[in-house]
Symmetry: C2
Subunit: 345 residues, 2 copies
């Protein structure tokens, strides 16, 4: 294959044909590159090819010819200079274990997944380092509804890698005028920002479903970011990262955005639907449901308090009424603001 | 008057019968207090009294009996233990100069105005200190759409004073279960957060009117907060304040909120209306139009760059096309994220 001869990174493979993987492949094809889009499910691959669109995860958007869909790992990965992995966090390790042997040793591997592995609480870059040690790894995060990226609307994201050469290489390969990428070396912070904001987004959806209003939601977002930064710092992230695109930026988008599945799940749960019902209403995964449990385990071990996450878990898993839980979050005594967001000081 | 005998602060006066002053008076009356609401315009005072609502600035909300409306300064201020000033920033000094003699010397004076004085770039607490030296002064800021507060929906705000005794006194007097107040000693940061976010909200409205999408708006909010924090720190604020309710919280609300007049002005201007047309369409003041000029003057003197504010000013005052200006904001080269939000590091 010489389809990507003009790319500095060689051919690009996108692993995972959900909405985000498909959107990234469309974005790359729009830049004149060929993106090989790997779908785990051969039926989905056939369906996408037959229809010329991913009707299941990104309906209504025709795939440009530069997107080559396949369920064959070798076909997707042979000679690839860059491999983007965009699968749900709970399936990430299995997919990497299955495909790892086919990923060229020199390829940069980019996790575009926002979440923590449920059983192990590993970040996705940790999964990659464990399964494919020594490979050049980066993570991609930031405010990015897939549909908007697929439509070519402007977005700004972060590429983080411990090795700045790797993040710059990924930046050169994936960025465009409309798809701005900023590099960062704080892999831990960028991954945690993307994972933990989904929990706050569920809380925001619940608040909205209770009609608490925009003032309450703004307060929730503010306290939510402080909570994320607190846990993040305890886990080795740089707090400043949470003020950037992968923290604040993604949190704002997910909590207010009309396309957020985590907020939508919160809306459904707040309206009285069970978690099973709320999760069953969309083929897409609301990562926050899994992340909240992981976050609480990590926080307990680190001695950090996560009041918003505690209440979200109480609603989702222990039948606490949404109204009582939100009241508990919003009513936390009169005290100096520095006690709650003092983290940034 | 012994109407507020049970209040620790004595009677409360709210100066300014716009939407925010009226909402604060309604909130206080709901707590069982009497709030004397002073309207500069006697015709407005008569109209509010006759209708039992402030149809001009907060239509559809009946005033509870605890709100006593008057255009007589003495009647509003005699014996007041707390005076909240909620008038537009360009009229703030004139109102304080006019009423100052009637404000009891021991009364705590709370600025609830978000903006900078256009001619002098003074913050409102500086205006108070200049006109009424030695008085106990505090500022009230944070995410707070007036209508929601008037409806009793939950909100969380910040009261800042150099003297923590003053902010605690204001907190005890104004706070309720639904109206949470957090104290802070960073008066500069709390005032600048409330003022500068209006400029970013105009940019967000312009972005939305151009259909750039939610990813672009989230990026704009993130870069906007970094810009606010950069200028704030140069002017003596504590950067951590901008991660709190008066920074991030208010910014998020104003940039995404459906009730934001600054965002609404950006929407109108982005759709091609002139500034005069956009400003004429509402009796309410979009503070950001004045703040942007002040911010740029302050930034130039401090050697700080404000790319978003520069482009907003170019659109509002120099006829630059909204599309060109937004493209300039969003396209700022590929570089490490730390160069743009490094401020928090």
């Amino acid at each position: 294959m010489d389809e990507n001869a003009r790319s500095p990174a060689g051919p690009i493979a996108v692993v995972g044909a959900g909405s985000w993987g498909t959107a990234l492949a469309i974005h790359l094809a729009r830049q004149g590159r060929t993106a090989r889009l790997w779908a785990r499910d051969p039926a989905l691959a056939r369906e996408i090819i037959a229809r010329g669109e991913n009707a299941r995860y990104l309906p209504g958007l025709a795939l440009p010819p530069g997107v080559r869909v396949t369920a064959d790992a070798h076909e997707a990965l042979v000679g690839a200079g860059l491999v983007v992995v965009a699968v749900p966090s709970h399936g990430f390790a299995a997919v990497v274990a299955r495909l790892g042997g086919a990923i060229p040793p020199e390829a940069a591997i980019v996790s575009a997944t926002k979440g923590l592995e449920p059983e192990t609480r590993r970040r996705m870059s940790e999964v990659l380092a464990d399964l494919l040690p020594g490979r050049p790894v980066a993570v991609l995060s930031g405010p990015s509804f897939a549909r908007e990226v697929a439509l070519g609307r402007p977005a700004a994201l972060v590429v983080a890698a411990a090795d700045a050469d790797v993040s710059r290489r990924v930046q050169r390969t994936l960025a465009s005028l409309a798809f701005r990428l900023y590099t960062n070396t704080d892999v831990v912070g960028v991954e945690l920002g993307g994972a933990l904001k989904n929990v706050v987004a569920i809380a925001a959806g619940i608040s909205d479903s209770l009609g608490l209003g925009e003032n309450a939601r703004a307060a929730l977002v503010t306290r939510g970011l402080a909570e994320i930064a607190r846990l993040g710092a305890a886990l080795g992230a740089h707090p400043g990262t949470f003020a950037g695109l992968a923290g604040l930026g993604d949190l704002v988008l997910t909590c207010a955005g009309t396309l957020s599945r985590n907020r939508a799940l919160g809306l459904a749960v707040g309206a009285g639907r069970s978690l099973a019902e709320a999760e069953g209403s969309s083929p897409m995964v609301a990562e926050g449901v899994r992340t909240v449990t992981s976050a609480l385990i990590l926080a307990r071990a680190a001695g950090v308090s996560l009041p918003i996450s505690e209440e979200v878990a109480a609603i989702l898993f222990h039948g606490k009424s949404a109204r009582d839980a939100l009241a508990a979050i919003l009513a936390r005594g009169l005290r100096p603001e520095t006690e709650t967001v003092g983290f940034y000081r």
